[in-house]
Amino acid sequence: MTTTREFTFALLVLQAGVGLLTALGATVAAIGGFPGDALLAAAALSFALGQVTGAVLIARGSRRAATLIAIYEGVALFGATIGSMLQLGTDAHLAPWVTNIALPAALLALTLRLRGQATHRAGAATR
């Protein structure tokens, strides 16, 4: 397996782990009396499962998984950028910056690179 794939796998699993924590937080809020938060917990859980599945598929060389993860990270990055521009809170701090901006940006760059590599390989095979 290439270093890019290995690194992408590790970062995606890390991102999934952090996502699972947010699912836990929303679950506590839902159990505490805000039932609508159960939807957010379900969304966080789904995203985390999607990230782990994507990580496994990327490790196996799936170009489609790399594309889907790239789209997801692009959307996440866009949302985080909008959030930080609105200056609603402390998103500009180091830890939120690392997990909300740097991590999606790194994954976006890595998945785009993997897509490029896969396209290049496919092109070379047809020639």
Partner: protein, 359 residues
Amino acid sequence: MYLHSSSHLLGGIADDHLLGLAALALLPLAHPLFRRQPGFAAASWRDRIVAWLLAATAVIHLGLIPGHLIESPATSLLFLVNGVMFGGLAVAVFRWRHWRPAATGLLLATIVAYGLYVFTGRESVDDLGSTTKLVEILALALTVMPRHPGWARWSAATSMMLLTTLVAGFLGWGGILRDHAGALRQDVPVPTAADRDAAAAFAQRSWEAVAPYRDVDAALAAGYRPTTPPSQATIHYENAAYRRNGGPMMDPTRPQGLVYANGAHGKVLLGSMFVLSGREQHGPDFGGAVTSWHEHPNACVSPLTLNLSGLLTPFGNCPPFSFNIVTTPMLHVWRPDMPNGPYGELDERWAHRLAEGQA
């Protein structure tokens, strides 16, 4: 008198940890050291990345030593031992066949030890601590990740990464909740005897003034609504009409918030809460350090559910479709017989006893 909350990048790092971050400037010095190692040329990029991550956590730990030397020499000694061991392992990646089990053990021990340290109140969670844990979890992931295909090995490694992240986050959350959910406090001068008297008198007046709201239905009729999950042990209610700009800030008969405990026989009033209308405002600290205006920088709210959707994780995340907000400054004024004082940190056991009708 300013609260500590700020939006600049280093605002979430404790002052005595800034040297730890600055120490990262020394990281490039590891490059010539790595290149001189016999196994460097043959090492995979993955192993090289692990070596860099181990070196990064080593210099951060070493940089934390001066900030803790006076207050907690034992902690400084642990940082020294940790830093030296991580530094040694970073070099060992290129020299020692068995570096992986050693790195796995040290990384796991360090992540769990940090979690227990903050969980038990020996240290507060800050951004450098959280980010360093992310670096260590990533190093752990790249260390334990199998080199060859195999369903069982990959599943075990993936589960370990997820579990480590969850345990680190869970323990970090424990530490944050212990610190009044990560509240940031307004600086106040040392109180005088007159300050103490004024604060005690205000607490007594405040408790008497909210007597009608001991019945939660009266509070609801007056416009108070829950702002924290209503089934939890303690619930905050707020009255939006009393939060508008221009209204009296500290009218004991019209506090912006009320706090109840959930009991077997209904809700039990624990005290009132005064909330400022803007983040830039400063609460009147008539009681000096007796009173404690604070704000919560780590609340998550969702525009979809229009309420609190959780607490920011120690790694700085909110649930999907949510965003982080910083609350406006607030001041709790508890029942005068609260064990930690009417302005102190809420004693959960006392609140529980009240809720169960045992006090």
